[in-house]
């Protein structure tokens, strides 16, 4: 009790002041009540006292009381009824601001009792002569639907809203569209909805005409609402698509970035229906400048724009082909902006601008933020792999960076170098001494593993390869598993290339790996090698030293089907995250039912299957890319692994947690149903026999994938970077 006393005292004081005979004192008390409410104190006990101050000529005071009501109406439903009279009276006030205020507030009180009294005033306000009242009433219908849909339908409010699309006032039109769309979304998330439910808001061609007229007249936010509605319209033919595009294009010049992006969205959607090549060209050309201008916005808007530009470039790489310079990072850009710019710069890199890009990247590599520096160095590697002609220049830049001897710079450069060796075999052997000179600097597993891979790969050209690998063999048990796996493979490569001088080292490592190592993956791999070497050295050679498929930078980071979907949602959270919304929206209004609905549509089924195939292919391609030795050994598990993920991972759980980064999961989530792609036909091959290594490979590589394996677009991370990881999983299956 003693703890409660002071709070009671405070509320008591307020209650006295709320009942004061002086107007100013009462008003001041209300302000204090609102202040307490804001900081989270419970002032619901003052409900009756505050309510007494509702009837007033002072509009400000009225707003304050309403604010209080909105907050506590839900917890005090019996008392709210006392306010009804004033609300109804206010909704008839000669002052339109008061009328609008009353109807706006009533809609959000969310108390059952008051709703029944809302319908009559709302009816009146929807027909009010004042547009300000009408636009407020329009949104109120959406509020009511959210609370009690049947009231909206029974009272014919929907029909009234449909009439209001033709309102003379553009703001009313915009809010009407917003309200109808809101209701449409709420209704379509119900599972039991039929296609002719009145709550649905299909855009007909007559509505289209009205929207196009209102578009040019209404406020910026209204334009966004209207553009969103236009995005949903399904054009009848290419003429109509063209017409919409032509009418929307002027919005690119709007000062508000969200209007520009909404216009981009509409254009991207309706451009699919445009057949005139010259118009498409013109639209794409007109799209570039406003996108670049968005980079002068505040950083947060810039970031949203950059994420969307990244998506747009995956679909239309030509949009900004001459604009790479505008993406150069400014020293004081926030990190999230810089990282995004980096990615886009690599996308825009070509032979004509690669020099400028490289000198930029080199500059970034000397900044302080470790994360950004590493990403910059990665970008150099990606550039080297993307542009053959520039590879040598990239290597020189990397060498300069290695010269700085800053630990993380050197390590990242080594990792990147490995990818370059992978892409251009036997081209840059000259720099191996420089890399090896930094052997002592390396303390990160990935960098170590990369260097070891390089040594193993070029073991026959490095005189003291056994000595260098010996360092790692000595510390074998202390190293992390990826390094152990890589050391193991590199030593076996060394042995196969120089059998005379490395008998001892290979014996030693196989012993250590099979006896003293606690990772089953490492042990298993050692056993496999051991058996291979003892039974058939020829087969071992074919497996361990096999030709590797070339690598390239994926042109897209999301599956084609997902890309199309995301482009239809430009500027939304989904397009920012490059993920379908189910991965972060959760159960709320758009939940499992809506997923189900999606799969029901017959059109979708086709794309579902197609998308799943692509993803399955991508998944396999990713695995194919990842192994850096013994392709046949992994050729088989890659198919199995894909199946494995599908049957064992509860994809939905992953999605709701929003943690999945696996492109496969994303896709599964779109279609909601579990699916099992056919395992590739590699199963029948005897992997240890050394037979058909190549044929097994080619069947995985081209036959069952249906797409050139390496360039498969659905690889989420440039695959080269995670060299070892999948391998662990795969070998674990044995």
């Amino acid at each position: 009790m003693s703890i409660k006393a002071p709070r009671k005292g405070e509320n008591y004081e307020l209650s006295v002041d709320l009942n004061s005979e002086y107007r100013e004192k009462r008003k001041d008390a209300i302000k204090r009540v609102i202040a307490s409410m804001t900081v989270g104190k419970d002032v619901s006990g003052l409900f009756p006292d505050v309510l007494k101050n509702m009837q007033t000529d002072d509009l400000e005071q009225k707003k304050l009381v309403y604010l209080y009501l909105m907050n506590y109406a839900k917890t005090q439903p019996e008392l709210v009824i006392l306010a009804v009279n004033t609300f109804v009276k206010d909704s008839d006030d000669p002052n339109p601001l008061v009328r609008a205020l009353a109807i706006r507030t009533m809609g959000v009180l969310r108390a059952e009792k008051i709703i029944d009294y809302l319908c009559d005033p709302l009816q009146k306000c929807l027909r009010d002569e004042n547009p300000y009242v009408r636009k407020t009433a329009a949104l109120c219908v959406a509020k009511l639907y959210d609370l009690k849909p049947e009231l909206v339908i029974d009272n014919g409010f929907l029909e009234q809203l449909h009439e209001m699309i033709a309102d003379s006032n553009p703001m009313v039109v915009a809010n009407t569209v917003a309200a109808l769309t809101d209701i449409h979304i709420a209704a379509s998330s119900q599972s039991s909805i039929s296609s002719n439910d009145p709550a649905l808001f299909p855009i007909s061609s007559s509505i289209l005409t009205k929207l196009l007229i209102a578009l040019n007249e209404c406020s910026e936010w209204g334009r966004v609402a209207i553009l969103n509605a236009l995005a949903r319209y399904v054009a009848k033919d290419d003429k109509e698509s063209e017409h919409i595009c032509e009418r929307v294009v002027p919005q690119f010049q709007h000062v508000n970035g969200s209007v520009v992006l909404a216009a981009v969205k509409v254009i991207m959607i309706h451009m699919r229906g445009v057949r005139r090549e010259d118009l498409i060209k013109q639209l794409v050309r007109k799209m570039a400048p406003p996108l670049v201008t968005l980079l002068s916005s505040p950083p947060e808007v810039q970031w949203v724009a950059l994420r969307n530009i990244n998506l747009l470039l995956q679909k239309r790489p030509d949009i900004l082909s001459n604009e790479m310079r505008v993406f150069f990072c400014k020293y004081n850009d926030p990190l999230y902006v810089k990282v995004e710019k980096l990615d886009i710069m690599v996308r825009l890199a070509g032979e004509n601008n690669v020099d400028a890009l490289l000198s930029e990247l080199k500059e970034y590599a000397s900044e302080v933020d470790v994360d950004f520096v590493r990403k910059s160095i990665k970008a150099i590697g990606q550039t080297a792999i993307k542009i053959d002609a520039a590879a040598e220049r990239c290597v020189h830049v990397l060498l300069d960076l290695i010269d700085t001897r800053v630990s993380y710079v050197v390590q990242e450069a080594v990792v990147v170098m490995k990818d370059i060796f992978r892409k251009y075999p036997s081209t840059y052997e000259g720099i191996i001494p420089t890399l090896c000179a930094n052997l002592d600097e390396l303390d990160e597993p990935e960098a170590k593993a990369s260097l070891i891979w390089i040594i193993g790969e070029y073991a026959n050209k490095i005189d003291n390869a056994d000595e260098l690998l010996g360092i790692f063999v000595d510390t074998f048990t202390e190293e992390s598993y990826p390094v152990q796996l890589q050391t193991l493979t590199a030593v076996v490569k060394l042995f196969l290339k120089k059998p005379d001088s490395s008998q001892g080292i290979v014996q030693r490592i196989l012993n250590t790996a099979t006896k003293d190592c606690d990772s089953p993956d490492v042990r298993d791999r050692a056993y496999i090698y051991w058996r291979l070497l003892s039974t058939d050295p020829g087969a071992a050679k074919a497996v361990v030293l096999a030709q590797r498929p070339p690598i390239s930078i994926p042109r897209t980071t999301v599956a084609p089907a997902l890309l199309e979907e995301l482009l239809g949602e430009v500027s939304s959270l989904a397009s920012v995250y490059h993920k379908p919304e189910e991965t972060f929206v959760g159960k709320g209004r758009v939940g499992a039912e809506s997923l189900q609905r999606r799969t029901d549509a017959p059109d979708d089924r086709f794309s579902t299957q197609k998308a799943l195939q692509t993803v399955a292919a991508g998944q396999q391609a990713e695995n194919l890319l990842d192994f850096d030795d013994a392709p046949a050994v992994e050729g088989r598990p890659s198919g199995l692994a894909a199946t494995e993920v599908l049957s064992h991972t509860p994809a939905a759980a992953n999605l709701l947690a929003g943690t999945s980064s696996n492109p496969l999961d994303d896709l599964v989530s779109i279609f909601g149903a579990p699916a099992t792609p056919a395992p590739p036909s590699a199963n029948s091959h005897d992997i240890f026999g050394g037979l058909g290594v190549n044929s097994a490979f080619s069947s995985v590589g081209t036959g069952s994938l249906g797409s050139p394996a390496v360039q498969s677009p659905s690889v989420a991370v440039p695959p080269l970077q995670k060299n070892q990881q999948p391998e662990d999983d795969l070998l674990g299956l044995f």
Partner: protein
């Protein structure tokens, strides 16, 4: 063609904007909280406090936890936060947050904890007026000020007809302007300010890595009635078009030819400008709001005239000294001058002291707290040149310190100069009463933290090779 219909359904689920709106102070205390939808509990504020305010390593302006997404913008010591559980329109949410910040700045002169606390009643009024049920409403500052004020005297006595007029303005086709007869001025004047922010990034060798101009045209219109304005620039596309056609009424300007024309990469307009007209023939016509507003923004990247040239030479002498020679040259005519020139030259982190000498004008000193040499020149006449030489003493450190080598930054203003070469050709005002109006034009080019040259610290790195692999 399948694509259109198969993505139809996914689009439906995307419209709701923001569902809740908060302002937090630096400690994570809630100053303003407004829940537009009921999907949230108040405790959502605690989540934000824990995940963002007290997290020192926030690397994205949007954070999604579970199914709830927080959009935040930091301004001074405040967080402006919008929360949603939907696939919201991210660009719109941020634009809205910034609009709100601008409104607050315009109402209270600044936006910080104090001004929000002192005016929280008005803030709530604003938050409710500019957003209803999560959908942004009219947010034109000029209009809002007619019915939401910091003094609480208006409303009680406000006659219904006044309110009618306000509401008509807040929703009208020209929501940015009061209706015709309300606006009366004795002297009809319009002031046009062309303000260009020039961004330049120079390499150590003096070459330009990128140069561009972010321009905006600010207008103050004190014009009676409902004036119809036409605005003309030396826009290359317009001039070229004029040159091709017969020399019509604008022949007075035609003789200037295309040489002076400026190529604009892109322009954006205030909502009063008729975008369709601009799209059709690049004419800029509009009915202006009353008072001050930003008429347009533009961007130019070609033929940028850089008003100042910076030539840095930075040399490392041994390991304990760095010498700086920085020369500033003006490129504009002697009639003009650059004012408030501030050059900031970063020094290594282990600098102990700097000796500075100046040739020409200005004052320079070393600011140890920020590790920079600050060189200030109040006025630099066109054609003038001045230079600074400095020697930084370094402590000898054994550990290799990572120093980001920030660029040398130059700040300045040049009046009556545009880096893009943009010129206002005309501003015509038509009004039914046919009054005479006076127009004024000013130009200003300035740097805004984006006029930088990367220094070329000549590094002295010895390679120590411990172990060299031998090649066969």
């Amino acid at each position: 063609m399948i694509s259109v219909s198969s993505f139809y359904i996914s689009l439906l689920l995307f419209l709701i904007y923001l569902q809740a709106f908060f302002i937090f102070n630096q400690k994570g205390e809630v100053l303003i909280s407004r829940l537009y939808r009921t999907d949230f509990k108040r405790s959502i504020a605690d989540v934000f406090r824990i995940q963002v305010v007290s997290n020192s390593d926030v690397r994205s302006p949007i954070i999604t936890l579970g199914s709830t997404s927080f959009f935040h913008v930091r301004v001074n010591n405040l967080y402006v936060v919008a929360v949603t559980k939907t696939n919201a329109n991210a660009a719109l949410v941020f634009e809205f947050c910034y609009r709100f910040i601008n409104i607050c700045k315009s109402y209270f002169g600044k936006m910080d904890e104090e001004s929000i606390k002192n005016n929280f009643v008005v803030v709530y009024e604003l938050v409710d007026e500019i957003n209803d049920f999560g959908y942004p409403q009219n947010s034109e500052i000029d209009t809002l000020k007619t019915y939401i004020t910091t003094e609480s005297v208006v409303s009680a006595t406000q006659a219904p007809e006044v309110s009618s007029r306000i509401t008509a303005q807040a929703t009208g086709a020209t929501s940015w302007r009061r209706s015709g007869d309300d606006v009366k001025y004795k002297k009809n004047e319009a002031f046009v300010d062309v303000v260009e922010v020039v961004n330049w990034m120079g390499s150590a060798k003096g070459t330009t890595l990128r140069a561009d101009v972010d321009g905006h045209i600010q207008m103050r219109a004190y014009l009676s009635g409902t004036p119809e304005c036409k605005f003309g620039l030396n826009d290359k596309l317009v001039i070229d078009r004029g040159a091709v056609g017969t020399s019509g009424p604008s022949s007075g300007l035609a003789d200037r030819g295309g040489g002076d024309a400026v190529e604009l990469d892109d322009c954006q307009f205030h909502q009063c400008v008729r975008l369709n007209d601009f799209d059709a023939d690049r004419s800029i016509s509009f009915i202006p709001p009353d008072g001050e507003f930003e008429l347009m923004r533009y961007r130019a990247t070609s033929n940028i005239k850089l008003p100042l040239k910076v030539i840095p030479t930075v040399t490392e002498i041994g390991t304990t000294k760095v010498s700086y020679d920085i020369t500033l040259k003006t490129t504009f005519s002697a009639k003009l001058s650059a004012t408030n020139v501030v050059v900031r030259i970063p020094t290594p982190l282990n600098t102990t002291d700097v000796d500075v000498g100046i040739l020409g004008t200005g004052k320079a000193k070393y600011v140890p707290a920020e590790n920079v040499i600050v060189w200030k020149i109040a006025r630099l006449q066109g054609g003038q040149e001045c230079s600074l030489s400095a020697m930084a003493q370094l402590t000898s450190t054994t550990t290799r310190q990572v120093w980001a080598r920030p660029p040398i930054d130059v700040d300045f203003q040049v009046l009556m100069f545009t880096a893009s070469g943009l010129i206002v050709r005309f501003l015509k005002v038509f009004e039914k009463s046919n009054y005479h109006s006076i127009k004024w034009v000013r130009y200003l080019t300035k740097a805004n933290g984006g006029y930088q040259v990367r220094d070329s610290l000549i590094k002295d790195v010895h390679m120590c090779i411990d172990r060299i692999a031998h090649f066969s």
